[in-house]
């Protein structure tokens, strides 16, 4: 006969993991003396618990530090809040220096433009460093038309870039890879995302794209993707 003491059954895994206080343990053990159904239930859970304790641990096949370091090289940690607060207070102490402030704002503007240019060059370097850290021979070559049959996670696809677009929300670039620029046919959408900010290839160029193969099955689009793109080799512009 099935037992209705759901309140106690609910705590069986806690009981097996010795995470119950003494009173709760006693309540369960008193109940088990009288209830064969719960004894069977607990025995099954104990078997599952014993098996779960033998779950194997794995180690990554390669050390990813080189790729991670390359990716974060273009990233500076954000200044901590207390420092920002101190700066704001200092600014508030000198309200009369309007001309100096205008000068500083102009200088900061100029620095921001220079930083933005330097940052884009840095991002290109990051892409190169990531490519150097990857073993491109490990990528499985797929034809654009055959991507549907692909089962390998890491792929290389070659084709022409028919269009490049920018995501309005996050600024990520994506481009469409096709076999033939003149005719509609099978395609792969290639997405360039953080942390590997590669420069998008130009429309009309022929490229080899290395990355992770996936199927994007959202309501508004159903297509195969290389996402994220890990490396781009330009065959000809």
């Amino acid at each position: 006969m099935r037992c209705c003491r759901i309140d106690l059954q609910h705590k069986f895994s806690l009981y097996l993991n010795s995470e119950l206080e003494h009173r709760a343990v006693k309540r369960i053990e008193d109940h088990l003396l009288d209830c064969g159904s719960c004894r069977t239930r607990l025995a099954h859970l104990r078997n599952g618990h014993r098996l779960a304790q033998e779950l194997p641990r794995f180690t990554p096949p390669r050390d990813s530090w080189a790729v991670i370091e390359a990716a974060i090289s273009g990233t500076q940690p954000v200044a901590s809040r207390p420092q920002a607060a101190v700066r704001r207070r200092e600014f508030g102490l000198k309200p009369g220096l309007a001309l100096a402030v205008i000068g500083i704002v102009a200088l900061v503007g100029a620095l921001l433009i220079a930083f933005s240019k330097a940052r884009s060059m840095e991002e290109e370097n990051t892409g190169t460093m990531v490519a150097e850290a990857l073993d491109l021979r490990e990528f499985h070559t797929v034809n654009i038309a055959d991507i549907e049959q692909n089962q390998k996670p890491h792929v290389m696809a070659e084709g022409y870039v028919s269009e490049v677009s920018v995501n309005d929300e996050d600024g990520d670039f994506s481009f469409k890879l096709v076999d033939d620029l003149g005719r509609p046919g099978p395609f792969i959408i290639c997405e360039i995302i953080d942390p590997i900010r590669l420069s998008p290839p130009s429309v009309g160029s022929r490229v080899r794209v290395y990355g992770v193969s996936r199927y994007d099955g959202q309501a508004d689009h159903n297509w195969y993707e290389v996402h994220p793109v890990l490396n781009i080799e330009v065959v000809h512009r």
């Binding site: 078997n47 794995f58 990554p60 974060i72 996670p153 996936r214």
Partner: protein
Amino acid sequence: MRIQQSQTESEERETIVSAQGGDRVAFKALYDRYRDRVYNLIFYSLGDELGAEDVLQIVFVKIYRGLPGFRFEASLATWIYRITLNECLNQRRGRSAHHIPFEALLGSDDEMDSEAAADQQQAEGERREIIHRAVMELSPKLRAVVALKYLEELSYEEIASVLQCSQGTVASRLNRALRALEARLRPLRRLL
């Protein structure tokens, strides 16, 4: 023991503060400390060894970027596991799972090698592989709870904090996971 634990915590805090300031060596120390744990959590959550390596890289870049905002309100491990599982969720949304069916792994009777079964080490490896595969058949939510409990050995309270749910939900998921695991492997009890 207690003093040793407190020393470790204090050392970790110093490392975190240095890493928050952009110290790459300190961040590498955190990477070394958490790499395998994060990898296992990704692996069990996604069920894809090669994909796990890519996600591991993304997770550590996110940790690096988010570290300046870490305020020591939870333990670093809890915070890292939360980032990891959120990223796994993002990855699952965009990919269809490819895994070998459990039945395919067991093979047919004809394929069983009696000599190999006699080899203790191989038998142990096969046993773990069967258990691993059975866990991979669980839903991602149940797998995450099993990995946090049985690999990371977190308490119910800590798991609830990582998953941002109640301890009751953790208990319920773990009950379901263990029952499913036992039911899945019951026919093989004599072998295991």
